[in-house]
Amino acid sequence: MHILRRDKKEEEEGGGNPFHNLEKTTVLQEARTFNETPINPRKCAHTLTKVLYLINQGEQIGTTEATEAFFAMTKLFQSKDATLRRLVYLGIKEMSKIAQDVIIVTSSLMKDMTGKEDQFRGPAIRALCSITDNTMLQSIERYMKQAIVDKNHAVSSAALVSSLHLSKGSHEVTKRWVNEAQEAVSNDNVMVQYHALGLLYHIRKHDKLAVTKLVAKFSKQSLKSPYAYCLLIRIASKLIEEEGAGSDSPMFEFIEGCLRHKSEIVIYEAAQAMVNMKETTAKELAPAVSVLQLFCSSPKPTLRFAAVRTLNKVAMKHPAAVTACNLDLENLITDQNRSIATLAITTLLKTGSESSVDRLMKQISSFMTEISDEFKIVVVQAIQSLCLKFPRKHSVMMNFLSQMLRDEGGFEYKKAIVDSVITIIEENPEAKEAGLAHLCEFIEDCEHAVLATRILHLLGREGPRTPTPSKYIRFIYNRVILENAAVRAAAVTALAKFGAHCEELLNSCIVLLLRCLLDTDDEVRDRATFYVDTLKEKQKALNSAYILNGLQVSVIGLERALHQYTLEPSEKPFDMKTVPLASQPITEQRVQAVREPGETTAPKATDKVAASRQDVYAEQLARIPEFANLGALFKSSTPVELTESETEYVVRCVKHTFPHYIVFQFDCTNTLNDQVLENASVHLEPSDGFEVIKYLPCPKLSYDTPGTTYTLVRMPDEATQVTGTFSCTLKFVVKDCDPNTGEPDEEGYEDEYVLEDVEASVADHVQKVMKPNFGASWEEVGPEFEVEDTYSLSTMKTLEEAVTNIIQCMGMQPCERSDKVPEGKNAHTLYLAGVYRGGHDALVRSKLAMSEAGITMQLTIRSTDQSVSEVLASAIS
């Protein structure tokens, strides 16, 4: 009572949250009241609420404490108070992961789930499933089956959803509940039907044929629940995506049919599914778009929002398809809801013609101040894509963007604008000057150090190559005077780049840098000293290597190499060439998250930095004692499939190149559940000069557990002989085993399995490297070991095709954005940069010209070693 009163007082004072000042120890102390007899339901309910609140606030409760509280809580089962009991169910669910021996409440929950009190049954099922593990599942199986087909909707739904959760750990058991789930699908409650379909799909989702049948069956038989329909649409669209089926497949017909469903949610889901499909033509999209068009004039704001948001997405891929809706979208510009209005305008910007751009821009600027940052970012992105589409309009856009840069806004918003400006500058050379000028103005008053350093870096790279580089110097030097250390350091670097690139500015830059020598920050001072000394040498090669094109090693790799070096003191100086190179491009790698039907609608793109992939391999290989003395890992190739994906054994190969060796890593998976493979290794038939040194077999390959075997190959001594083809055979000992237990028989027999050939190509010996200033590097390497040749590429039809093929063949990094061929030109120059095995810089300039007869190419290769140039030249022929 006392506690209650005190809480009440606090509530009055604090206003709002009565649980604001809870402390874990006192609450757990209070939980002892659960042990009292007779039980005081009100007091216990209050305390239990506090415990639940704490857990949900992320408070960490130790195992012993949790177990004690849990056991005290189990005593509350003697009270029949409904509120308290339902809180206990919640408590069990929350504590099931932290307390020990939670299994103790099994029987009590079983009693409740089969009891007469309907209110208890559903929650009891959910709680029971959260404490049950694999071993206990057998004993509740019968009750679960009964509950799934129960007359009461809440019970049935609870059982179905719980089964779905259970199947994550114990798929085998829930599989047996298929008949019950089947029966529940024909239930006339919308929720039960939806959940039952969900479970049914989940049980069968690994069997593509069964899923196809499932969709076929339920798309004919009319379901009552709109939610079930939505799920069916998601399953169908996933199937279409996996199979790459076209619009003639029955799945597609089904989805199209759903556009005429009477429920809005189903119609929208179907339209959304069609829009998200990878390969659809504008014509196939037409029905979906016309449905969305109808939604645009719906009185419900949610529908309008959904429709315009989806149309916005369509506009990215098929602007033409959305043009039909332009009139409806125009009406939405003045919508009460600003989010709808913004999306409508940005969609129009994507679909509209060049002439309407000015009008729309004016319209949008009228309410830019009223919308949230999130939508402002949408606008920025729309402008960016517009700018790329209509390069001639860049001056309008740039002005608009710079206007936005001056306005108030959060970091994300400013970052989006800066990103856009940078992209536009890179794509459209005409916009460069204006863009740089706007960015210069922005950094004059920029509170985000990250953005300022980024812009300074860009200025350092692009500024010196503009017609009048001197005008940027003032902006950069202002940073040195006014900003914090990080920005000052970036500004110093940018200044040095101007000095290194433009001879007429060299002296002034040195003067400015000399002033930085007295800076208070170590980093700034160090950089300035370094640059001043380098610039004073006045050597082009030095400038290129140390100022214009900085370090090209992987940062993680460098850290590890230095750490290793400090652990083992040696007389030799640290060799930069042993550090693995950064694989380019880092920013372009995006991994698409796997989309599950029934989870989220929008495919989420997760950013994943792939740069560390090679570092991961390097670490794995370093742990194998046999490979310890091979030297530093130079390059790991991307995995190559050596089998079809549906065969008995699936093998992928990754080639790791070392200074004198190649390690072939074979990732094998055994897809037969009645076999165990032992002592598996891949035997190679090498071509001339290559020599297999060692096989590292994989001791055991169980069903569905990937294993790795390595084969070590020594490269020929002859420096120009680096390519070859290897035929591979997987050799192993087979033992039959029981599919259920995985226990193998004693006896096994030897067997082999022929794989596809592996090739070692020139690209395996070259690591991609980005040279921001190709021209400087070209001069730096010099013509000493230059190889030049002319080829005629008769098989290629277009310049783009030739460029892609050359890049692939050489395995090098295109620089200066030369991988993009401007439209309507007959000649193009491709610049490639890389580092050859052993640390030799290699640069390639390939001049392409298109004529009637085909494409002619003049290939010039410069490197620091004669054989390297020859090998690279041989890659093309």
């Binding site: 007899t37 005593k75 003697q78 409440v105 099994t106 029987s107 009590s108 079983m110 009693k111």
Partner: protein, 188 residues
């Protein structure tokens, strides 16, 4: 709240409540015994092995019981002790036809008696020598010898032969427990 309860109790409208712990080896008949005392509409027709525990309530003439029916399976016996502190009495069920495992039951009983929570309290212990109807069942006297019940000095105890399926002997045992508990609860 307390005042009203006290008044009701004084007037004899509300019965006194007692917590009892029902323990014993697996398959000795604990759940079946409790099932016998439940009113007709709540009776369970098929009894399955208990996992963890169940709470049941039943009434005699003068007391209302809350029984914690514990699971007897080996892996759950450690969990009995979590419920020792709140109980007013213990019902220990022995399968008198399972001579082999009576020693195991004795071990469990010893562990129970040695537990500090049990030692410091004066709680009555009722033994049911269950499954009397089976042919190879031993008598209750023999049973108490095998369990060495005579060594229990500081607790009130009573053993009675029972058959949980027909209900023979159960009421007699509970009557004894009721009398004992009344004393304890009145003293409190």
């Amino acid at each position: 709240m307390g005042l009203f309860d006290g008044l009701a109790r004084w007037l004899g409208i509300k019965k006194k409540e007692a917590n009892v712990l029902v323990v014993g080896l697996d398959n000795s008949g604990k759940t079946t015994i409790i099932n016998h005392f439940k009113s007709e509409e709540y009776k369970n027709h098929d009894i399955v092995p208990t996992i963890g525990f169940q709470v049941e309530k039943f009434k005699t003439k003068s007391l209302s019981f809350t029984a914690f029916d514990m699971s007897g399976q080996g892996r759950y016996r450690d969990l009995w002790q979590a419920y020792y502190r709140e109980c007013h009495g213990v019902i220990f069920v022995i399968d008198s036809s399972d001579k082999l495992r009576i020693v195991v039951a004795k071990d469990e009983l010893d562990a129970l008696l040695k537990h500090p929570e049990v030692q410091r309290k004066r709680i009555p212990i009722l033994f049911f020598a269950n499954k009397m109807d089976l042919r190879d069942a031993v008598s209750s006297v023999k049973c108490s010898q095998l369990m060495e019940l005579e060594n229990i000095r500081d607790k009130a105890w009573h053993i009675c032969a029972s058959n949980a399926i027909t209900g023979d002997g159960l009421d007699e045992g509970i009557q004894w427990l009721t009398d004992q508990l009344k004393d304890v609860l009145v003293k409190k």
